[in-house]
Subunit: 619 residues, 2 copies
C-alpha cells in the first residue's frame, strides 16, 4: 500500500522545501491562466449554440456574435484592471473570499467563498467535458464514450495534483503555450484566407445533416435570447480571479509578477476570443448536437481536411482544457483550507497531506466534479448554464470589497481606483443578474439555490466550532481535582487477551476494580464461574444476566449503578481486543466495536483497548 | 432513532418468553410450507417456458408436460418420506447441514450449508419476482416497474421479520390458506369446464401477439430440452426441507407435529402442481416474454374475464409467493447461526438481536437477494436456472447422511429406512447432475462455482478461529507478571479536554508519564510552550517536530524510542476527545480517529480515549 501511494503521489516534501516550490511567471501563466484562456475553445461555440440551436435564428445568429464578443472583451479589460489592484493590495493572496472578509464582513465573504468553490468544481466538469469534446471532434468516436473518458481524465489529474503543484506547472507549461501558438496560427491562417483569399462560409456538404437543418432557421432573436447568448459568452471570464488567489505561489516580488502574468493572460484571452469570433462570423460553423466543436470544424475547413495542423489544434485544445481543470485543482483546496482555517469548514480541509497540497480538498473537488459529469452526461452545453453565476457573484463581491478598501486605506490615487472598482462591481453585478435570470430554467437555479445553502452550512459549522471553543476554554491556572479511578474490565470466556486485560487493569492500582461478564443463561454463568475458580483470578467477578441477549444494555446498566454509588467517579472500561491483520480483523471484536461507540457517548467514561496480537491469518 | 427502531421492530422479547413463541401445526404449515406450495404458481409455467420459448415446440410442448409433472410428484413423495425420517431422528432440527455434519463430516456439511444458504437467498429473489409477476398479470403495469416493486417487497418483509417469527406466522396463515383454497377452486372449475363442459384451448384472440407466434412453433424437442424442462419443474421441490430445519419451532411433541405438517405440505403441493399441469395440458396457456403468468391466463379464461375470482386468485398468488420468501427469512438466519456457532461463519451471525431473530442473517439475506433481483432484472425465468442445483445438492447430502445414520444407529426397521434414503439420495443426486448440466450455460454455473467457493471461505474462517483459539489459549494458573505502565498524553493546544486528559493520566500514577505534542513549525512550538508555562502544568512536555505535517509518523517514532528505552514497558496512549452528538461528531477528532486505527495495530500499546462532552450542536 505504502509503495503504491509513493508511486502515485511521489516522495513526501518537508515544510522547509516549500519556499522553493514558487512559480516563475513563465510557469505561473499556464498554471493560473489556462482556465481563462481555455474558454476561447468553447465560449464562441456556446454563444452560437444559444442563437442557432436555442433561438433557431439560422444565418442571422452570426450578426450579434461580434458585438457580444466585443462587450465580453471590454468587460474582461475592466475585470483585469480591477484585479490588478487587488493583487497589489493583497500580496498574500486576495481572492474574492479574502477581499470580502476584510472589507465586507463574514456573510459576504462566505457568499463569495461558496460562489468560488462552486465554480472551481464546475471548472473541472466543464473543462474536462470540453476537452473530451475536442478529442471526439478529432477521432469521431461515439457520444457514449464521453462520460467514461471524462472520468478517466479527472482520475489522472487528481493523481497528478496529489503529487504537488510545481511538477504540475512544469508538466503543463508546454501544452498551454502549444495551444496558444496553434490558436494564433489558426486565427492568422483564417484571417489571411478570409480577407486575402476571400474564402466564404463552410459549405453544406462539410456540415452534418442536423447542422444544415439548423442553418436554415429563420426565427426571430428576442432580447431575452440575446441576453442568454451573452450569458454563455460571459463564461470566458471565468478563471480571471485565479491569479489573485495564487499570489503567494509566485516568485518574489510576488505582486508584481502576478500582476504582469494577469495582464498577459487578459491580453491573450481577449485577442484569441475576438479572433475566433471573427473567424466564426465569416465561416459560419453550424453544428448539431452530435457534432464536434466549432473550432475543429473551422480548423478542418481552413486547413483543407484533417491534416497535421488540424490534429495539432485539436490536441492543443484538449490539453489546455485539461490544464484549465488544473487551475481549479490549485485553487479549490487553497480556498477550502483558508475557509477551514477561519472555522467555517471541517478542519480536515485545513490539514496538509504529505506533498504540500491540501489532499482532502483535491479529493473532494474530484468527487463532486465526477458527480456533475455523470449527472449532466458529460455535455459541456448542459453544464455551461450552471457556470457563470458563481463567477460573477465572486467578481461583484471582490470588487465591492475593493471599493470599501480604497475608502478605508485612502492610498495614492484611491479615488480613481475606487471608481474603477465601483464600475467593475456594478457591471459584474448586473451580469450576474442577467445570467441567473436568463438561464434560470436551464440550470442557473442550481448555483442560485446552492450558494445560499452553502453559506448556511458554513455559518452553522462556524457557530459549532466557536461554541466548542468557548465551552472548552480554560483560564491559565485551571487544574481539576483528582478523580477516583474505577476500572471495569469486560470479560467473555477466559483466554490470553482477557488475562492480559485483567493484569493491565490491576497493575494500574485503580481505586476500585471490577471484572464484568454478561451471561445469557445459567449454563453460561456456571461456565465462567468455574473458569474463574480454576484460574484463581484475584479480582471479583460481577456476572450480569442479559435476558435480551444483548451486551450493551446490561453493561450500561452496571455503569449507571456505579455512577449512582460513587459520584466522584471516572469510570475506565477496559476492553481486551484481538488484533490480527486487516484481512481477518473483521472476524473479531464485532461486539466490542459497537460497545465502544456507545461508551464514547457516555459521560465521564473513558475506554481503553488492550490489544492482544494474534499472528494468524487466513492462508 | 430508538423510537423509530421500536416502531419498526417492536418491543424486545426476553429469552424466557422464547418458549411461548412455538408454532401450532395450523400456523407452522403456512410458515414453513408456503415456499414449497408457492412453487405451484410458477413450476408449470417454467417447464412450458423451456419447451415453448426455448425449444420452440409450439403445441407439441404440452405433450411431455404431464409425464414431467408426474415424475416430479413421485420424486416429491420420495423426498417427503425421506425427510419424515430425518425429522424423527433429529428432533432438535435436522437440516441437510446438521445431518451431514453428524454423519458425513465437516466438508460435506459445509457443502450442504453453502447449497442451502444459496438457495434461501434465491428463494427470496425467485418468490418475490414471481409475486410481482402475478401483480403485473392482474394490473398490467409496465415491465420496468418489476425491479422497484420487488425491492419494496423485500424491504417490507425484512422489517416484518426483524419483528419476530410468531407475529409473522399469524399474519401469514390467512393468505396461505386463501391461496390454497383459490387454487383448488380454480382446478375444480377447470376440471369441470374441461371434462364436463368440454371447453377447448384458450383461443388466439385472448393471447398476445408474441404468444400466438410461439404457439405456431413446430421445432423438435431434443432429449436435452426435455431434461432442461424437467430441471425447471424440479424447482417445485424447493422448500420441502424447511420443515425439518424448523422442528424446534413446533409445539410439543415437536417431531410428530412437524412430521404431520410435512405430509400435509407434500399432499397439497403434489395435488395442486398436478392439477395446474392438467389444466395447462388442456387449455394451452401460451405466453410471451412480456405477458403475465400462465395461472392468470387460465384463470381469466376459465372465469370468463378479469372478475372477482380472477382477482382473488392473483392476489392469493402474490401473497403466497411473498410468504414463500418468508420461509427463507426464517431458515437462512437459523442456518447461518448454526454454522457460525460451529465457527465457520463470522460470530456476528450467531449474535441474536433484540427480538430473538438473528438480525445479521436477516439483513444479509435481504441485501444479497436485492442484488440478485437487480442483476437478473426481477425476471423469474432468468432466476430459475440458478435455483434447483443447490436444492438437490442439499437433498442428496441430507439423505446420504441419513443412510449413514441408519447404519450407525440401527433403530427399528433401519434397513427399510436405509433403502428409502439411499433411493432418495441416488435420485436427488442424479437430478442435481441433470440440473447443473442442462442449465449450466443458463446460470447453473453460478451456484456450481459459488458453492465450492463458499466452502473454501467457511474452511478458511474455521481455520482462523481455531488458530486464534489455540494462540490465545491459557492453562489454569497462568498469570502474567506486572508490566511497567508508561502513559503518553497527546496534546494539541490547551483546552478543557487536554487538561482533563492530563489529569486523568497523572491521577493513575503511572510509572512514567509523558505529554507529547506535534508542532509543524517554530511558531507552533513557541505557542504551545508558552501555554504550558502559563498553565503551569506539572508534566514535562515533549515537542515532536513534524517536517511532513503529519501526526502519525512522529508519534509512532516517539513510541518506538520509548520501546527501545524500556523493554518491559506497556505504553498507554491517552487521547483526549471531544464528543458531541452524531450530527456534529464528524467535525471533531478526524485525526484522532486515524491515529487510533494505527495504534491499535501496534504491539504492546493500549489506547484510551478520554472524552469531553460538549453540549453544543448545529442549530
Amino acid at each position: 500500500m505504502a509503495s503504491i501511494k509513493k508511486f502515485l503521489i511521489g516522495e513526501a516534501i518537508s515544510s522547509e522545501e516549500e519556499q522553493h516550490q514558487r512559480l516563475s511567471k513563465k510557469i505561473a501563466l499556464p498554471v493560473f491562466a489556462s482556465d481563462a484562456i481555455s474558454s476561447t475553445a468553447y465560449a464562441t461555440d456556446e454563444i452560437l449554440w444559444v442563437l442557432v440551436g436555442g433561438a433557431g435564428a439560422g444565418v442571422a445568429a452570426f450578426r450579434p456574435l461580434l458585438p457580444i464578443a466585443i462587450i465580453v472583451c471590454v468587460l474582461l479589460a475592466i475585470v483585469v484592471t480591477s484585479y490588478r489592484q487587488t493583487i497589489m493590495a493583497y500580496p498574500s493572496g486576495g481572492g474574492a473570499y479574502i477581499v470580502s472578509r476584510e472589507n465586507l464582513g463574514a456573510t459576504p465573504a462566505l457568499i463569495a467563498g461558496s460562489a468560488l468553490l462552486t465554480d472551481y468544481i464546475l471548472t473541472v466538469a466543464v473543462s474536462v467535458a470540453g476537452g473530451v469534446l475536442a478529442m471526439r471532434t478529432a477521432f469521431g468516436f461515439s457520444r457514449s464514450w464521453a462520460v467514461p473518458l471524462c472520468l478517466i481524465c479527472v482520475f489522472v489529474m487528481t493523481v497528478m495534483n496529489l503529487r504537488g503543484v510545481k511538477e504540475s506547472g512544469a508538466a503543463f507549461a508546454g501544452p498551454t503555450y502549444f495551444y496558444i501558438v496553434m490558436l494564433l496560427i489558426l486565427i492568422g491562417t483564417g484571417l489571411y484566407r478570409i480577407f486575402v483569399q476571400h474564402v466564404g462560409p463552410i459549405p453544406d456538404h462539410i456540415l452534418s445533416e442536423e447542422a444544415v437543418h439548423l442553418s436554415h432557421g429563420t426565427k426571430y432573436m428576442s432580447i431575452f435570447m440575446l441576453l442568454r447568448a451573452f450569458s454563455s459568452g460571459a463564461v470566458a471570464l471565468s478563471g480571471v480571479e485565479a491569479v489573485s488567489n495564487g499570489v503567494p505561489a509566485f516568485e518574489k516580488p510576488e505582486s508584481k509578477n502576478a500582476s504582469i502574468t494577469l495582464m498577459w493572460m487578459g491580453g491573450i484571452l481577449g485577442s484569441c476570443f475576438l479572433g475566433v469570433s471573427i473567424l466564426a462570423v465569416h465561416l459560419k460553423p453550424f453544428r448539431g448536437e452530435a457534432d464536434g466543436n466549432g473550432l475543429g470544424l473551422m480548423a478542418e475547413y481552413l486547413y483543407n481536411g484533417k491534416g497535421v495542423m488540424f490534429w495539432a489544434t485539436m490536441i492543443g485544445t484538449f490539453l489546455i482544457l485539461i490544464l484549465a481543470a488544473n487551475t481549479a485543482y490549485a485553487d479549490f483546496p487553497r480556498l477550502a483550507s483558508i475557509i477551514a482555517k477561519d472555522g467555517f469548514l471541517p478542519r480536515q480541509f485545513f490539514n496538509r497531506g504529505t506533498r504540500l497540497v491540501f489532499s482532502n480538498g483535491v479529493l473532494f473537488l474530484a468527487g463532486v466534479a465526477c458527480i456533475l459529469i455523470v449527472a449532466f452526461d458529460g455535455d459541456i452545453s448542459k453544464l455551461i448554464p450552471l457556470y457563470a453565476f458563481g463567477v460573477f457573484t465572486g467578481f461583484t463581491l471582490s470588487q465591492s470589497g475593493m471599493v470599501v478598501h480604497h475608502f478605508k486605506d485612502k492610498e495614492k490615487n484611491w479615488k480613481v481606483s475606487a471608481v474603477i472598482n465601483a464600475t467593475g462591481a456594478f457591471l459584474t453585478g448586473l451580469i450576474a443578474t442577467i445570467v441567473v435570470v436568463s438561464k434560470f430554467t436551464e440550470g442557473a437555479w442550481i448555483p442560485a439555490l446552492l450558494i445560499p445553502f452553502m453559506v448556511f452550512g458554513f455559518r452553522a459549522i462556524g457557530n459549532h466550532y466557536e461554541k466548542g471553543r468557548q465551552s472548552t476554554h480554560v483560564e491559565p491556572g485551571y487544574w481539576p481535582t483528582r478523580e477516583t479511578h474505577t476500572l471495569v474490565v469486560l470479560v467473555g470466556s477466559i483466554n490470553l487477551g482477557v488475562i492480559r486485560g485483567l493484569q493491565y487493569a490491576r497493575s494500574l492500582h485503580p481505586d476500585r476494580l471490577y471484572a464484568v461478564t454478561v451471561a445469557t443463561d445459567d449454563e453460561d454463568r456456571k461456565r465462567i464461574e468455574q473458569q474463574w475458580l480454576e484460574f484463581n483470578i484475584p479480582i471479583d467477578l460481577e456476572i450480569l444476566y442479559s435476558p435480551y441477549r444483548e451486551l450493551r444494555k446490561p453493561v450500561m446498566g452496571f455503569l449507571d449503578e456505579l455512577d449512582a454509588k460513587y459520584s466522584d467517579n471516572i469510570i475506565t472500561v477496559v476492553i481486551p481486543e484481538f488484533v490480527t491483520s486487516w484481512k481477518t480483523q473483521w472476524l473479531h471484536n464485532g461486539s466490542a466495536f459497537a460497545l465502544k461507540a456507545s461508551l464514547l457517548h457516555r459521560r465521564h467514561t473513558a475506554v481503553v483497548s488492550v490489544p492482544t496480537h494474534m499472528n494468524i491469518d487466513i492462508k
